[in-house]
């Protein structure tokens, strides 16, 4: 007769145990060889939670060598995968998201009361018992900064070729081409007319793609906001620098088109709930440059209006745009030397930066605010596709 022995399922306490010799396999399957697409439809940042559950078991068994080894291998694994995929926005987002989540877990379950205020009683049971991983948190924070910088570099690389064409050259307002300054051939930033011609829609499509990936990968909303603030800064800097160097775009009609383009970008930010990100503020110099192109530039009152409006442009930039300003037709006059002198006299007390062009490589410092998770470790399921059957649930 067949005897069935029924074993009572032990309660899963949210820890994962593995043999020391399986560490390399764990890192390979969970970090270096993992494709983010495999995890679509699962909990965002699943690798970070799995790694925390492994760390927790090593902490529970008071095995400091195992904790050291796992954290070092994890960090080296993440660095390796980022190096290999250094132009892959999705992969870089995936690891930024997971590195930050692991950092949040090490805080949330550190036992430090300052990080436990939002924990449930069950989550408090999942705190580390033996080790203080503050120093490893610093390493993960430094790594997150590196990954963020890689992410911005990739995004800027995709965006940059579109900026001049979409912001300054493309005409989407009907009837504006008839009021372009005469005597200038249409110029393209690619030198070959027609090539690399992008409209604003292309920038918006690219922004949508970035936003979609970052949301899908569960990147913290505060980090998404910082990414867009940085990208809008680049749009501002590249566009303004071109405006400051090109006579053919310093006209009333470009000012009109530019203002329209900026309003489309502002609309996009509002639609994505990113208007509090500081991104709009980074566009302020460009907004003022567009207005400067459209304002009247003749009387003392016009000069006063310009000076009180253009607070985010330096005197040097205002004067340069006025010097480059190209009348639309024979009925519009050039900006007179006297008018420019009036502006200079009014602005002489300003303590403006000396350089004409903006540093388009400038990066705002990034912050990773603590973002605890409401998820409880014992509720996490490890999908078979991860090939981690050697992990024992404890």
């Amino acid at each position: 007769r067949q005897v069935t022995v029924q074993r009572k399922e032990k309660d899963f306490q949210g820890m994962l145990e593995y043999h020391k010799e399986d560490e390399a396999l764990l890192i390979r399957n969970l970090v270096t060889d993992l494709k983010p697409q495999v995890l679509s439809g699962t909990v965002p940042c699943l690798p970070a939670y799995i790694l925390y559950m492994c760390i927790r078991h090593a902490d529970y068994t008071n095995d400091d060598v195992k904790v050291h080894s796992l954290l070092t291998s994890t960090i080296n694994g993440i660095k390796k995968v980022l190096k290999k995929h250094n132009d892959d926005f999705e992969m870089t987002t995936f690891w930024l998201s997971n590195t930050c989540r692991l950092l949040h877990c090490l805080k949330q379950y550190s036992g430090d009361e300052g990080f436990m205020t939002q924990n449930t009683a069950k989550q408090n049971e999942h705190c580390l018992k033996n080790f203080d991983l503050t120093e490893y948190r610093q390493v993960l924070s430094d790594l997150s900064i590196q990954i963020y910088q890689q992410l911005i570099k990739i995004a800027e690389g995709l965006l940059q070729p579109m900026i001049v064409s979409a912001m300054l050259e493309n005409e989407s307002i009907q009837g504006l081409s008839g009021v372009k300054p005469t005597g200038y051939r249409k110029r393209s930033s690619s030198m070959v007319d027609g090539d690399n011609a992008y409209c604003l829609e292309a920038i918006i499509r690219q922004m949508n793609a970035f936003h979609g990936v970052m949301c899908d990968q569960g990147l913290d909303p505060e980090i998404i906001q910082q990414v867009f603030k940085q990208l809008f800064y680049v749009i501002n800097a590249v566009t303004l620098n071109n405006l400051l160097l090109r006579k053919d775009v310093c006209s009333w009609s470009t000012g009109m088109q530019l203002r329209y383009n900026i309003s489309q970008l502002e609309e996009w930010l509002r639609g994505r709930n990113l208007h509090q990100s500081g991104a709009v503020q980074t566009l302020e110099p460009l907004i003022q440059a567009a207005q400067l192109l459209q304002l009247k530039k003749k009387t003392q009152e016009d000069a006063e209006a310009i000076c009180s409006l253009c607070t985010s442009l330096s005197t040097q930039q205002i004067v340069k745009i006025l010097n480059l300003y190209t009348p639309l037709n024979e009925f519009e006059e050039r900006v007179t030397v006297a008018f420019i002198r009036t502006i200079q006299a009014q602005l002489q007390d300003r303590n403006d930066p000396q350089q004409l062009l903006l540093d388009f490589k400038h990066m705002f410092p990034v912050l990773f605010p603590f973002n605890p998770s409401s998820l409880t470790m014992d509720s996490i399921h490890i999908p078979a596709c991860l090939n981690l059957e050697f992990l024992n649930e404890v």
């Binding site: 954290l71 070092t72 580390l128 203080d132 120093e135 490893y136 390493v139």
Partner: protein, 31 residues
């Protein structure tokens, strides 16, 4: 009365740059 938890032991960690150095030298050593 509830027991006070034992203080946790601080695990010393190398910096990110030191980790990279160690990793590079390990890679160089391995054939």
């Amino acid at each position: 009365s509830p027991q006070r938890p034992r203080p946790r032991v601080l695990l010393k960690a190398p910096t990110l740059a030191e980790m990279e150095e160690m990793n590079t030298s390990e890679e160089e050593e391995s054939p």
